[in-house]
Symmetry: C2
Subunit: 227 residues, 2 copies
DNA sequence: GCAAAAACCTACCAGCCGGTAGGATTCTAA
DNA sequence: TTAGAATCCTACCGGCTGGTAGGTTTTTGC
């Protein structure tokens, strides 16, 4: 158990964009000293690797190589492989949760609030962490970590259900089976990592808009139409 | 490579229902001789195990134990672990494909044909093979097998898109982005294995109906209503 | 300049698990 | 009854990979 400074939960934008995460490490020959940034780089790199090869097909050696570092170095930033996956979960869920919490203070019609959340949701699952959010197996986490992740997911689910109910009240959303609708929405979005590729023509936001349109209008032709 | 009789692709109903697949093996003390049935039992048991513990967390010894058999016996029915996964894929996809092909001869409105397919789809993903269809990683299959599975999945996707287009023509489905709608539909259904448990109140068919209703009606309130 | 902390590496271990060799048992056909 | 096929088991191997021990290098604080 190496002593570590207070750990940041959210991957910094600095670590998020760089194509080669190794640049975070050495700057010329100088050994950099920012623990938090490097830790985030480790997690980010792991997420990408998991997405490409799956959790079990990704060795810690491979992640280390990607960072141009050796395996034990990873253990300097993270307790074990399991925690690596856990951090990916959390980092991926965070933006959705904050989007959801932000909407609680809004006074806009529920349908609009829901759409805003869904847009953020789409962006999250389309990110490098998307794989972890959606495809990673809970069995690969120990009981305590698994239940933590589960709790976060439940919060998201409940948040969406609440927005749907609010929509029923304020009339912006047609009456429907709240539970099933939440599942359908989440399912459609969660499936994005299966087919979306970075280079795709559509951005995550555009995908979200397309889905929102589909869910709002419905497949059965409407009698009257308004633009 | 042990010589095997012509291999059946579809899991027999006999093997599908039994709670303990071991009953397929011994009947009293008599050693049964039906290769096909036992092979299906192996696949079925594997599917269940994969669903519960994931592919990589399921050892062949565990599957063998479930069947009250030793590991080498499994190799008598299947070449290796990879093929085991492959067969689960195929067994799960089959009913969806047949449903899709059946609809090609139908003259009903496309929306109804689509709904019929979706209902079968829901049943498939809710089955023991659902996990494989949706959560198993293609990286765990070799290139040839992976592309075979991918081809089947593409066929399903294309089939759904075609039904949507047909619906546009015959007026039973409102104009929409076909590709995105197909993704949304598939995603909603594919998410079922994540939350559905056997003991759930709703049957797979009921879930399908609920989803169909949501997708048909849409979330935006409709002006006129007809029951 | 020097001690202490931080960051990182080399070298290694051990358990798990997919896969196999080769033989034993049981059934079927004749 | 018996040959041969079908079915299954015991015993084993070896590679991969998560994880660690313990030392080395670099940086910081003073």
């Amino acid at each position: 158990m190496a002593a570590r400074p207070a750990r940041p939960r959210i991957a910094t934008a600095a670590a998020a964009n760089g194509a080669d995460s190794a640049s975070v490490w050495r700057e010329g020959r100088k050994r950099l000293r920012d623990h938090a940034v490097k830790r985030d780089a480790v997690i980010q790199t792991a997420a990408r690797a998991f997405r490409e090869n799956g959790f079990h097909n990704t060795s810690l050696d491979a992640i280390a190589a990607q960072l141009e570092v050796t395996k034990p170095t990873i253990y300097y930033y993270v307790a074990n492989k399991e925690q690596l996956l856990f951090e990916c979960f959390v980092a991926g869920l965070q933006p959705i949760l904050t989007a959801l919490r932000d909407q609680k203070t809004s006074t806009a019609p529920a349908r609009e609030r829901l759409n805003a959340v869904l847009r953020q949701y789409a962006q999250a699952v389309a990110s490098d962490f998307g794989w972890c959010l959606v495809r990673a197996e809970h069995q690969d986490l120990s009981a305590p970590m698994s239940s933590q992740v589960r709790a976060l997911k439940v919060e998201i689910d409940q948040g969406i259900r609440r927005l749907l109910k609010d929509g029923h009240k304020d009339g912006s959303i047609a009456p429907c089976d709240v539970k099933m609708t939440a599942f359908a929405l989440a399912g459609a979005l969660n499936w994005i990592p299966h087919w979306y590729r970075e280079k795709q023509a559509l951005s995550a936001a555009q995908i979200a808009d397309a889905f929102v349109a589909i869910f709002e209008e419905g497949l059965r032709p409407r009698a009257a139409r308004r633009s």
